[in-house]
Amino acid sequence: MTKKNRLFLLLSPFTFYSLLFFLGPMLILLIFSFLEPGIYGGVEWNFYHHNYGRILGWADGEFEDFDIIYTIIFLRSVRLASITVLFTLLICYPAALWISNLNPKLRNFFIFLITLPFFASLVVRLFAWMIILKPSGILNQVLISLHIINEPILMLFTEGAVIVGMVYVLIPFMFLPLYASIEKIDPMLIQASKDLGANKFITFYKITLPLSLPGIIGGSILVFIPSLGNFIVPDLLGGAKVMMIGNLIEQSFLMGRNWPFGSALSMILMATVVIFLLFYVRSVSKYENATETIK
């Protein structure tokens, strides 16, 4: 066996796992999305494109109706995911900047703190948010006792609650790639910039920010994808009012028992994600060609 082949063997567990549990189900989804839904669930093995027609607009009305609500839900998901990306970025960038300037021991401690929420179950953490946000919850009580508001305001089951929840859940995904790219920046570059007459704001804009761009893009993708398809957070904190594409897919499969329609929704979601990923891969590889560290 040549050396190349033997090295290839190292890939086999990953390949096996992906084929069985990732590509397999994907293929099933793809096939199902073009099949006719059975009357009592399941599928009829006939080619059927109206699953996509219902979402994208060419359903003929005989069996299935086009409904603009799916587009609205989809756009809402994109919007909420984008807002989540923006907030995680605004929260994590200053923190990553600050932590990367600490001594190594303290840095590791703070990174540990950032990843600490991972140690508790997601659902438990979201229930905690429900307790905080509900009308008789902690936040409303505090605001009332401080006389900032007179009666409880509606916080739970709003878009705001969903965003708060998603930002909270996804902060580590933004922080870690951001931190990794900021920490890599040679402090001498910052000094060189100051030496050449740039104050700290110009230095940040012209040196730190462009050099941390791979981290910004990476973190944004890592936050955008899971928030776009998220269904636990909108389910618990958004209730029935703030439905996202993830909830729609979940409902089609479980309550609607319409597997082909759920599959079609999933495929459209996945296509969107793939487009974002392609954008990421292209921009990062272009960037890394240019900024490989000087030896």
Binding site: D186, M188, L189, Q191, A192, S193, K194, D195, L196, G197, A198, N199, I202, K206, I207, P210, L211, Y287, A290, T291, E292, T293, I294
Partner: protein, 367 residues
Amino acid sequence: MPKLVQIISANKRFKTPEGDSVTALDDVSLEVNTKEFITLLGPSGCGKTTLLRSISGFEELDSGEIIIDSQEMKNVPSYKRPVNTVFQSYALFPHINVENNIGYGLDVTGCPKKERNQRVKETLQLVGLLGYENRKPIQLSGGEQQRVALARAIINRPKILLLDEPLSALDRKLRQSMQLELKNIQNKLGIAFIFVTHDQEEALTMSDKVIVMNHGKIVQIGTPIEIYDNPMNEFTAQFIGESNFFTGKIDIIEDILTIKTTCSNTFYLRNFDQSKIVKEKKITVSIRPEELLLESDQFTEKYFIECNVKQIVFLGTDFKILCEIGNNKIIHSVIRDTHRNNIDKCKVGSKIKLYYNPSSFRILKDD
């Protein structure tokens, strides 16, 4: 005329992670004139880089003053100081091309576009990098990166250019040609250079004035020739060039001073400072290897050291002879023997006489 730079009793201590404190600058005072090429020379950890970083504003002094162009620098941030630095690692901005690296200092200070482009071009020409405008730093060789770093630092026309061991990453040949080029560029620009190095050859080649530092203190200040010919103490004598050291007692004080060394040799000195000489006093003297010769002339025939040849090393132009003079003490002699007349006569193990001029010995200060 006021000096361009005045540093008045600068002190700086660092805390190590173990909680100890290290003295980086110990009451350092010095002056730099306009258009002067100054070298801070010393082993690593002697405080020379700290001194440089204090001038550029990246280190704050514990006490003392730095005055540049009659202005006290204490509360002036680094980006407002009239100095620019060539960093040891070059610190080129990896994400922008050569032109924008060089133009950075003008871009961030709001220089008009037309003037900016003109000056970038002039500077590229000065460092010989025309045609490299669109390359990224990663695409340049070490020597080219060095030139970009230099160009970037001089484009703002600083009053002083600080260079932090900028040649240490280059190979020997390139380093030597860059030494001459740096000197030329300095002459053309007419700005003061403060050059930090641990390489004595660099210091001697380029400087108008060498400042020898050790343990945070200035050991000696002088022209390269002064420093080489008259090292004040053992540190300078062995750090700059090579030296043979002898310790002994003063025996006879006359026109010629006689010294008996610990390994029972006798040396003779002429041209010494009478005032400091006391009989029986311990004394350390030094002599350069090239001042110990195989052949005598009419002045030196009475003055020689007898020794055993231990090893002969061929250095290219010169031969280095390592000799033992008793008590396992090894002395070095460097002989230029282009026609190979004398070197053939001396064999490993043979006894030879190394002649010296009594004026060549230098009396060193005790540390």
